[in-house]
């Protein structure tokens, strides 16, 4: 299954600037010391809507997964970043035998010829 061509919209510039430089940049509420997924619209703790962008470690664990019957099969997942937020993600280099709750994963960055760079997660 091809990964489509990714384009920026008004909200994604810091994230895609990050992936272009092999950095996973997500949202953070400094006041509450809480991390959020890059698409978070605000902090439910304090109501802050202008969340900061901050670099995550790239370490993650597997929460759950699904496999699309493509050739080769596409391994899709929810992953938990070491900082706490979950991301919808695609796994790279995973086999069925690897898949279990808590499997350690690492962010890996892809730089396609067309469109924005993106992040995959590898065991």
């Amino acid at each position: 299954m091809d990964i489509g061509v990714l384009r920026r919209d008004g909200r994604t510039d810091p994230f895609f600037d990050g992936t272009a430089a092999d950095r996973l940049v997500i949202r953070r509420c400094e006041a509450c010391d809480r991390w959020f997924a890059p698409d978070a619209s605000g902090c439910p703790g304090c109501g802050e809507e202008d969340l900061a962008w901050a670099e995550a470690s790239g370490a993650a664990t597997l929460v759950t997964w699904t496999i699309l019957p493509k050739e080769p099969p596409a391994f899709l997942a929810l992953v938990e970043l070491a900082e706490g937020p979950w991301l919808h993600a695609r796994l790279d280099g995973a086999s069925r035998a690897d898949l279990r709750e808590g499997l350690p994963l690492r962010a890996a960055f892809e730089h396609p010829d067309e469109g924005e760079s993106y992040v995959l997660f590898r065991p």
């Binding site: 489509g4 990714l6 920026r8 698409d39 699904t66 699309l68 899709l76 695609r90």
Partner: protein, 388 residues
């Protein structure tokens, strides 16, 4: 002062691959059918609640289409798959507090187009994707099937639930559909057929997934006092509730493992004065086999993690201890979102189920489920008034 409310009319258009009618036209047809079923004139309606699926909303302009005048209640309602139960509860509360007397609640959808596969109606595809939502889709999460697959897989990993156990739900639901002339899929299936059906998004096979249907369903809610004089026996609304757990996607979340059925069911059953042991029939939202399994757990029909074994015991099918989705549900019957379980509950409460009529129908539990197990609504209905 009215003390109780009932569903007194049920209107169902042709369901399935029904083309050439807009959602508004389908909704209007269903409301007319429901009024006729109740023995009411359209002019007797003073409330109209409108809901929709993927094919666009009928709009509150539906009132114009029907020529309704001097309404005292008119609104769009949307809690996704929990809407039908929510809508009926708002209608009942409006009748109870005197702000309306006779309220039609309608759902219409027309996502299917001629020569288009059912799956594509709920699938996204594009060459270029924009923003964060687009990025998730670009990576491969393009269909609601995959999001529900994530939930089912989490339950499997946590509790050892198997695909064969999910298959037992597909099989029992199809067995009920065989007795429903309105069901789209009536040919009996086996767990082997389920296992042999293609993967849609592992661990979900094709036979774990609901149908896609065009059509509309309406019900009419009024007071028990008025219901006594109408054409059909009243279907009493004994209790209602909602549950919206607000699972966050972050460390410690129960996303996929629990639903709003726990809160929703407790509220509805307390209002009705019943417990799960009093429930004779379940009509559960079954967008996927797994939705049924996790909903049964959260209502308390079995323990958390025991839903697979409970389904595989045969309890849910014809002759089982807990007849569930007696019309074939959304898996094999027709997919009218929350109106699928509600319409079958009305049919069962009236004793109109024909060869699929459940042996006992005193207490029927109806559920709605929306989002990715995000929203839940429950109704408890009965042929008997509360306390009777």
């Amino acid at each position: 002062m009215t003390t109780g409310t009932s569903i007194v009319g049920l209107g169902m258009t042709e369901l399935g691959r029904v083309y050439g009618r807009s959602p508004r036209r389908l909704a209007a047809d269903a409301v007319r059918l429901a009024a006729a079923d109740a023995g009411l004139e359209l002019g007797d309606l003073d409330g109209l609640l409108v809901s929709h699926g993927m094919g666009g909303s009928p709009g509150i302009e539906l009132a114009d289409t029907l020529g309704l005048r001097d309404l005292r209640l008119l609104s769009l309602i949307n809690s996704y798959g929990a809407t039908a139960g929510a809508m009926v509860s708002y209608a009942a509360m409006s009748v109870l507090n005197g702000s309306a007397t006779t309220v039609a609640c309608v759902f219409a959808d027309a996502p299917l187009k001629p020569k288009q596969s059912a799956g594509s109606a709920y699938n996204r595809d594009a060459r270029e994707w924009y923003g964060f939502g687009g990025m998730t889709a670009a990576l491969g999460l393009r269909s609601v099937n995959s999001f529900y697959a994530l939930t089912a897989q989490r339950h499997m990993a946590r509790y050892g639930t198997t695909s064969e156990q999910l298959g037992a739900i597909a099989v029992s639901t199809r067995a009920w559909a065989a007795g429903n002339p309105l069901a789209q899929m009536r040919e009996p299936i086996t767990v082997e057929d389920h296992q042999d059906s293609r993967w849609v998004s592992e661990p979900l096979h094709l036979l774990d997934c609901c149908l896609v249907s065009n059509g509309a369903v309406a019900v009419i809610v009024t007071s028990d006092d008025r219901a006594r004089d109408l054409a059909r026996p009243p279907v009493h609304l004994l209790g209602w509730g909602q549950g919206h757990p607000g699972h966050r996607k972050e460390r410690g979340s129960d996303f996929g493992l629990t639903t709003g059925a726990a809160a929703s069911g407790a509220t509805a059953m307390k209002m009705a004065g019943v417990t799960v042991s009093d429930v004779d029939v379940c009509e559960l939202y079954d967008c996927y086999t797994y939705t049924v399994l996790v909903t049964l757990e959260d209502y308390g029909f079995c323990g958390k993690g025991e839903g697979g074994a409970f389904a595989a015991s045969g309890a849910l099918g014809p002759g089982g201890a807990l007849p569930t989705n007696t019309g074939g549900g959304q898996l094999s019957g027709y997919y009218m979102w929350g109106m699928t379980p509600l319409s079958e509950a009305v049919i069962q409460a009236r004793g109109d189920g024909g060869e699929r009529q459940a042996p006992s129908n005193d207490v029927i539990l109806v559920s709605g489920n929306g989002g990715i197990l995000d929203h839940h609504a429950t109704l408890i209905v009965s042929p008997h008034a509360k306390g009777a």
